[in-house]
Amino acid sequence: MKILVVTEQRQAKWNKASFETLAAAQQIAAETKGTLAAAVIGKGVAALADELAGKKLDEVLLVEHDLLDAYTADGFTQALAQVITSAKPDLVLFPHTYQVRDFAPQLAASLNRGMIGDCVGYRCENGRLVFVRQMFQGKTAADVTFQGAAPWFASFQSGAFRADLVAPHASGKASVSKPSVDLKPEQIRTRPLELFREAKQAVDLTQAPIIVAIGRGIKAPENIPLAEKLAKAIGGEIAASRPICDEGWLPMDRQIGSSGQTVAPKLYLALGISGAIQHVVGMKGSRTVVAVNKDQNAPIFEIADYAIVGDIFEIMPALTEQLEKAKSS
């Protein structure tokens, strides 16, 4: 099987979900005894292609064009359709990012193919690939297979695979080729304008090793300092489920979940969070999950490694105290 991973960068910075998908693709290539190529798309991104070439893969495709400098759905769809038509992969894999959601289904459809998006896993059954994705907001899983001829398109949910498992190249570097793409300005119908962050102290929670998240159980904004104290004691970032941010108690960029950020820290503390699936999809990839909730039937306990059934207003100060004690001892 010939596999192509389409990586994602913005302003020459990786979207690290790219490497999770690369890890998945390396596994699939090994299981199907296939070949693996990875594409990087943009302008002035040769250094990223060089970095990719150090990974275990057969080829890097450096797809550059002036009109690919800033992302547009039209530019990326047309450029990648050309790359795929000439490289002829059987399987094209993407990280399931906001950008991929924006163009990849149309790219597949433009080649008269479908895309299985937002997969959380796969199985290789006698050479046949079965993709696993969630339905009913995570209440059920579904086995999905492609019908019809290759190329097949699929994307993997953030946190479904581990980026740190990407294998390096065995003997130096993979070759980098530069497929030419033909794009004209009039083919791009939308015009991207400035990028900006809304909050003053915008934080990238995806990079935080420890996250202390609060939910409806925090009850009132005046109680948030208790959680902030705990976050400080444990060396973590404060975050929240959607209702807290909708109320304006914490800025939107602190929100974890399907409409916020997707994180996979080494430690995630869920305080007074019931565990609605919209929240869980954003943090279930965390290495260790601690849940504190009054309701012993809260679904958050389903995915917790350590659980305390109790009042967060008692547990938070107690935990802060124990952490400070542990630090000083």
Binding site: A108, T140, T206, D305, A307
Partner: protein
Amino acid sequence: MNIIVCIKQVPAKDAPLQIAGNWIREADIGFEMNEPDSFALEEALRLKEKHGGEVVALSMGPDRVKQTIKEALAKGADRGIHVADDKFFALDPLGSARALAAAIQKEKADLVLTGLQSDDHGFGQTGVLLAGLLNLPHATIIMQIDVQDGKMKLKRELEAGWFQWMECPLPAVLSIQSGINKVRYATLKGIMAAKKKEIAVISRDSLGASGKPTQLIERIYVPQKAKKTEFLTGTPKEAAAKLVEKLKFEARVL
């Protein structure tokens, strides 16, 4: 400005799901408007209030989806289109989009809106696919729409707290981010007015928009619990002390 809003009807949030092969048992459960689509509808109504024109609620599925179309009409949509298909649940994303695109093509829309994704299948592809099939520009995860001089300035949500402004000509297809607005409730007056509004019914077969499926859901099932949960007990102080121990020496994350 004439706007078509694509609205899906999905099982109610609290509906007990009973799996039946590659779908669920539909008998005895309630259905409701897909919540992400309600934000798209609200945005359409606000654009109409500002710029005039009409809002058309388009929904595909069995007869029960008329109830969801009526809800949209009660909130202020002017008319409805029901693409009737009893086997809608079995369509793949491209199959659904082909049928919806064929229905939209019969209309003169300046703007087609969809929600972010559905709460049942959750494919999240309809808007993007519609744009391709209708040969229109598109944008997704939209948090603000300003219409000026026949084009739109859009605020698009990116990941990790980033946003981007972009310009998009009309006509176009937009997928709306949940939370873009506060959704209105239908008023009694609206509910009464909806009774006089038209719902056109078109069978999906008559649209001639079928194609071979590109993917197949073979089965659905309850996912296995992956983790073993250890409950820590005692007074708050004891439980907290145990937790710090565990995090330090067992999980080794501190």
